[in-house]
């Protein structure tokens, strides 16, 4: 049994990206889903499954299903967790349609992450239960702090200079300048990077993702049905889940390697590809170092060499290893990883305009690589035909 190429993404929808949507999170979700169904040439009556991941702000899956008027809901998933689940949700939707459990599943992520509920703190009480009880009392609870703790160990172990983090932000800003949807499009220099204020060392403001009010939705159906729909199908060639290590798992001797190191080979084997086959990479980037870590842990370069790879310009526009062609969470906007899947689909449909990677056939789209939460997920997507 294999999932390879059995399911396809056939529709993509976005709301406007803003710092204050002025509408409810549920409204954002519904607008993106309706746009994605229209993009697919499908109607409201075609969706029989719903799937999203949630932490912080979200629209409940049941409320979305009710609003869409789905009377016989064949698949529903309200996956607790952060960006490590963005690819997982699409992977589970693919499993649902490939196995015949459902026929057409809408996946989304909707958040008023700037105007209403800022991730990890402001606007809501911080988490002080579970593992957080051991760190929150020291003022250590929010995402930038958690990722900064891992990042210090990585920078130290591989002697990665601070400039390397800045180069990630710069490369992605270069892509964002080619993306009308991107919220941050002004050119960025290393001087700008070093002038940006400290948030939590070793992170400056420009190491951190944006906080965005937005929703993104995808429509997933079987490859057979996809062949008769409006858009070039984007096949789910592989989906993988991974993880197991956290600071508190009693298994984490090495803080400098993510879950992608174990999951990546499994994912690529499931999809029948190697790193050399992948034309475009959409790597989860809540913070700059995640790009470096994933380039290494997915096997695009050796451990400790990603800084040089990014500084060489190869991951930027015109480079041979395009990474985060929409600008990522750092410059396009923060839609908790689902905008990375949407960008991969856009690239594989050859619809990315001035930022199009010529002839892109295969994309890797990843969730958060396993720091903090200890789980991860990723997809290999392929243009049909």
């Amino acid at each position: 049994v294999t999932l390879r190429d059995k399911a396809a993404i056939v529709g993509v929808g976005w709301t406007e990206y803003s710092k204050d949507s002025g509408v409810s999170t549920l409204t954002l979700a519904l607008r993106a889903i309706v746009a994605a169904l229209e993009d697919a040439g499908l109607g409201l009556g075609d969706a029989d499954g719903v799937a999203c991941h949630r932490v912080g702000d979200s629209a409940p899956a049941f409320a979305v299903a009710q609003s869409l008027g789905i009377g016989d809901l064949r698949f529903h998933l309200d996956q607790f967790g952060g960006g490590s689940n963005s690819a997982a949700v699409v992977g589970m939707a693919a499993m649902a349609v490939a196995s015949g459990v459902a026929d057409c599943v809408v996946c989304w992520r909707a958040i008023n992450a700037r105007s209403e509920h800022r991730m990890g703190g402001t606007g809501r009480a911080p988490l002080v239960e579970g593992e957080f009880q051991y760190q929150a009392p020291y003022g250590y609870a929010t995402p930038p702090q958690q990722f900064a703790m891992y990042t210090r160990a990585y920078l130290d172990a591989y002697r990665v200079p601070a400039e390397a983090l800045g180069q990630v932000a710069i490369a992605q800003r270069s892509w964002a300048q080619l993306n009308p949807r991107a919220m941050m499009r002004a050119p960025l220099t290393l001087d700008d990077y070093f002038a940006s204020r400290w948030i939590v060392e070793p992170f400056r403001l420009l190491d951190c993702c944006l906080e965005t009010d937005a929703a993104v939705a995808l429509v997933v159906t079987s490859a057979d049905r996809a062949a008769h729909l409006r858009q070039v199908p984007v096949l789910v060639s592989g989906a993988a889940f991974g993880g197991g290590h956290t600071l508190y798992s009693n298994r984490h001797q090495d803080l400098t390697t993510t879950a992608a190191a174990e999951m990546g080979p499994r994912l690529l084997a499931a999809a029948g590809v190697t790193p050399a086959d992948i034309d475009v990479l959409e790597l989860y980037d809540a913070f700059t170092p995640l790009v470096l870590l994933q380039l290494e842990d997915y096997g695009f370069c050796a451990k400790g060499e990603a800084a040089e790879l990014v500084a060489s310009g190869r991951t930027g526009p015109g480079g041979s290893l395009p990474v985060n062609t929409h600008g990522g969470h750092l410059s396009e906007g923060y839609v908790h990883g689902l905008n990375h899947v949407a960008e991969a689909v856009t690239q594989l449909r050859w619809g990315a305009g001035p930022r199009q990677v010529p002839g892109a056939e295969v994309a890797l789209s990843t969730g958060q690589p396993g720091y903090v939460a200890g789980t991860s997920s990723a997809l290999v997507l392929r243009r049909a035909g």
Binding site: Y134, A136, G139, A148, M149, Y150, R152, V200, N250, R251
Partner: protein
């Protein structure tokens, strides 16, 4: 204690004895009765041998800095910045990582990965005992 204004821990049935020991200025870890592995934070079962039997064991209180952060943005109302949080790898077991406050400079100067440290205890403004790590060779300031 650094990080003033930070939230208080919410205890659960697994963690309560650990926090009660910290209030007595003791740092404990679990020792698996099945395979002898040390475990922290407390959990019911050993992920190595599957045993549900364990006992509390006093930790050495010594370790090495695995990583640290320097808070520059006040993440909580009233939080002092800059302030340091350290993650310590316990000498007793290289896969036990314990966070805590830092008795040294609030800007993190002098910290490095691998720095030998030992645990101390301090009460926060609410009277809750917390862990504060200090350099092994630092003068004991209580």
């Amino acid at each position: 204690l650094n990080g003033g204004g930070s939230p208080l821990p919410v205890l659960d049935r697994d963690s309560r004895p650990l926090w009660e020991a910290v209030a007595r200025h003791e740092l404990n870890v679990q020792t698996c009765e099945g395979c002898g592995r040390l475990r922290w934070p407390p959990r019911a079962m050993c992920g190595t041998c599957g045993s549900f039997s364990w006992r509390w064991t006093p930790a050495s209180g010594r370790g090495q800095v695995a990583s640290w952060i320097v808070n520059r943005h006040p993440f909580f109302p009233g939080m002092a910045v800059p302030s340091v949080v350290v993650m310590v790898r316990l000498d007793d077991a290289d896969d036990v990582l314990i966070p805590g406050g830092w008795a040294g400079s609030p800007d993190g100067s002098g910290l490095r990965v691998g720095l030998p440290v030992r645990v101390g205890f301090e009460e926060n403004s609410e009277g809750v005992s917390l862990l504060v790590w200090r350099a092994e060779d630092a003068e004991d300031r209580g």
